[in-house]
Symmetry: C2
Subunit: 200 residues, 2 copies
DNA sequence: ATATGGTTTAACCAAGTGGTTAACAAAAGT
DNA sequence: ACTTTTGTTAACCACTTGGTTAAACCATAT
């Protein structure tokens, strides 16, 4: 029996397993099981583990990057752009909880991977946002802080509570549901609090 | 020839390897090589990989936790506490760059590990700091934001630029040295900027 | 029908892995 | 001195892992 879309099926299974276990921890057999398919099929469609992994990596990045780029390039004022960014990024991470940690982890111990992402056609480019920061600072509407640092702050405040969820739950000693309430509250409040904190 | 401190030697080597490669990616032989020692010694001192890993985990946590606890419990005002925290945490991460990502990654795919940390005697307890936030809010000196969210912000702003270093370097498209300059600048500026941003 | 060519499977393989063992070396008791 | 305990090593083992292969399957074209 021929499944018309075995390749996508494999890729989805691989994303699930790789994101959770990482390159080193993932097992080809586990991916095959997840896809309910024979292990040899993985090699038939994607030569070997490394190439399957890279396909997953690219697909994961492709899920994330274009969306960010659209927001960065929007023709709206900085403040709306900040609101847009936090809101849609948080939505995204809520649906792909393992993805940021996965990318960071693999980026950490495969320097080559960084180079590959640099060359990615849809690589997120925050320059438009940086320029807007600069303009607002010059206009005296935003505190005089290097735009790059503002960007680091925005990213950190948005992403890290998700990346470090498990760590925070230990430190704060709170339950899963309680922590998720915090995150939901953040989604509606983060942007405006950040904006207020950088306004002169 | 008997080395009086083989155990510590192994532990240090294991920390190095485990932090970089993670539990799944680390190889017992590689740890032995790093310690310049026979592989069987690893099993002589620490039964198996799992137990060696847990010893490493505990030691890593022990390097981090007491220091945080001391600061949290200090009898100083909130603002000095914030300055103290960011400064010494940044120093710590500069010397142990892989540690936070390592803890988060392993915490993510071994739920049992979280339970173990919860029971750790020196588990960081941010309650004193949370209480101070609350007092200052009541006194009208700090904006009315839930203390837990303030803590999430403080942690995120301090830790994430280190955890996500590789990711940021790709997104910002800047060099290693340039990024490190940003981090150094952050060390001196972060605390006061954060304080100013939450003051009424 | 049957030949064709892409797809799928079970069985297999070589290399790498964590872990053991038995012999040996060095201290430490006696 | 010599016995016992602790530390160290090389060789080995069982098993997992990524990867291969040869045969079977199945849709389609002829």
């Amino acid at each position: 029996m021929k499944d018309i879309n075995t390749e996508q099926n494999i890729l989805n299974a691989a994303i699930t397993v790789f994101q959770k276990k990482g390159m080193a921890g993932a097992r080809m057999q586990e991916i095959a099981d997840e896809a309910q398919i024979n292990k040899a099929m993985l090699h038939y469609y994607f030569r070997n583990k490394q190439q399957l992994f890279e396909a997953v990596l690219m697909k994961a990045f492709q899920k994330l990057a274009p969306q960010m780029n659209i927001i960065f390039a929007m023709e709206i004022n900085v403040y709306d752009k900040i609101r847009q960014f936090t809101s849609s990024y948080i939505d995204f991470v809520l649906e792909n909880p393992y993805l940021p940690t996965f990318i960071i982890h693999e980026l950490n111990n495969d320097p080559q991977f960084a180079t590959k992402l640099m060359a990615h056609p849809n690589k997120p480019d925050p320059k438009p946002l940086l320029r807007q920061f600069e303009e607002e600072i010059k206009a005296g509407n935003i505190k005089d802080i290097p735009p790059v640092q503002l960007l680091l702050n925005l990213f950190s405040l948005t992403i890290f509570p998700f990346v470090g969820e498990t760590l925070f739950k230990v430190i704060l000693d709170i339950s899963d549901t309680h922590y998720h309430e915090l995150l939901i509250a953040r989604k509606t409040e983060l942007a405006d609090r950040f904006i207020e904190s950088i306004r002169t």
